[in-house]
Symmetry: C2
Subunit: 329 residues, 2 copies
Amino acid sequence: MKIAIDGMGGDHAPKEILEGVFQAVEDFQDIEFLVYGDEAKMAPYLKSHNRVKVIHCAEVIEGTDEPVRAVRRKKDASMVKMAHAVADGEADACVSAGNTGALMAAGLFVVHRIDGIDRPALSTTLPTLDGAGFDMLDLGANADAKPENLLQYAIMGSIYAKKVRGIEKPTVGLLNIGTEEKKGNDLTKHAFTLLKECEDIHFIGNVEARELLNHVADVVVTDGFTGNMVLKTIEGVAGNMFSMLKDAFMSSTKTKLAAVMMKNNLKEIKTKMDYTEYGGAALFGLKAPVVKAHGSSNAKAFYSAIRQTHLMVEHEVCETIDSTISKEN
Amino acid sequence: MKIAIDGMGGDHAPKEILEGVFQAVEDFQDIEFLVYGDEAKMAPYLKSHNRVKVIHCAEVIEGTDEPVRAVRRKKDASMVKMAHAVADGEADACVSAGNTGALMAAGLFVVHRIDGIDRPALSTTLPTLDGAGFDMLDLGANADAKPENLLQYAIMGSIYAKKVRGIEKPTVGLLNIGTEEKKGNDLTKHAFTLLKECEDIHFIGNVEARELLNHVADVVVTDGFTGNMVLKTIEGVAGNMFSMLKDAFMSSTKTKLAAVMMKNNLKEIKTKMDYTEYGGAALFGLKAPVVKAHGSSNAKAFYSAIRQTHLMVEHEVCETIDSTISKEN
């Protein structure tokens, strides 16, 4: 398979991106990489390899660029050319650690939606205390969702959980402000009915935000506004608590000693809460896998995103979404 | 002033409720209490006091009761009679640790809205790392909000922050999935415009969920669905992290020793994250203060809710909301 890479996207590009790529090319013998980016800037980190092809691009989409405009105007940007490689059939999938909004725009306007998909969704696997994780979608591709969108998210998330994460019969929960069927806003009340009637998913009802880290469902669906909000709340609270803990451990000689004694245990908790371990975020509903590695990706995180993309291509996630959605419609 | 109390609401009623009341009657010489509840059940915790009047009620609204139906049918319930005391002018405000939905229904159908208020909002002061806290509303009184509702929430929250929390010029943030003006869903985009134009508040723009605990604003407004979701996410993540930490500290002799060394520091973090310390939740937009103490309230938490109610009556929060809203309309 061929995977197109945005060599210039992310806080630590091109160094960490290319290190991730060269690690992956060793581990996955069936991947050929097409790496898009500024040849001069990438040169220090490039090695000659028969399965890594470098394509020079003069432009880069910055984190501060307005997404839709950047994709439309910067036609020679690494991210845009990477997406065109997928659209033109030169690559089977693409990965970028760059501007999330721009990647969504490139996915939508260059790679294109699967027929019958109204709105693509951004999804990632978030941590649970038992280590299994759950897929949440939409994380912000579409701020104003309709009930029908949430149904499609549930179908797409279930296919991903089954194909990529190997869960035989993934449970689907609807993120809501109460577990009873009649709870919620207009959107969740209507979505509940659609989800309950769908035979392609294993819907278990409403799930509450309080229970998310306790692995209440394998797939959790919500509108992009709420999903983004909940994701950022988790990040914020976890980050704040780690920083309070750090301050507490650094406050005196006694507590510094306690920190040494707790070092491995604290590291374990931090790893448990670190969702970059689970790979990147994927855009579901496009004709081919478009994967977003975390903006602050190091080589390991970018490698994880490539591994995830490899699984999505290998297990034909997009093809299965396509055939399931045409059956539903 | 007279404050009506639901003696039977909450997980630890009537014992902890009445202990809170008898503590408050000592500390606040200007409060007379009207305590509604089952006399036989309350008897072991009642003392004779010239400023505490007990009114027997045969019924109780349970946590499992359907809120609106319970308020309509259980006419002799302590919560309903407490609300009627306010509506009839016998009391200036009321406090309950019972069923939140039922208290909202009692507020709406018995105490009634202030003229011009379209939807009341549930609000509480949530913790920030600097100890100052911020008021968030709506926490779930109204799942489907309109932009105009968010504007009224901002006005009401500002009045509360000024009158009760003593903040001269409270900053107001709109909870959103990005800080830029054009970010968000239809609701936040429209609300942004209204908030920006309002002269009765000090609007500072969009604030992100990730930053909430860093005291980005004194008042944060959002729709009830999102507010409830974010509140429960904060509770869930904080609770899960404390339980992971507890497990880590209990895992070996060495870590148990570290726990002893860190005891005071950990307690401090726990106190910082404990929003029951800040008092109860209040329903804004009703003709008189209707305050909800946490369902698991002990005497101290219920006492805090009474203290907060006392401040709301003393500083005429509802009267100020009334006059400000009539000026706006």
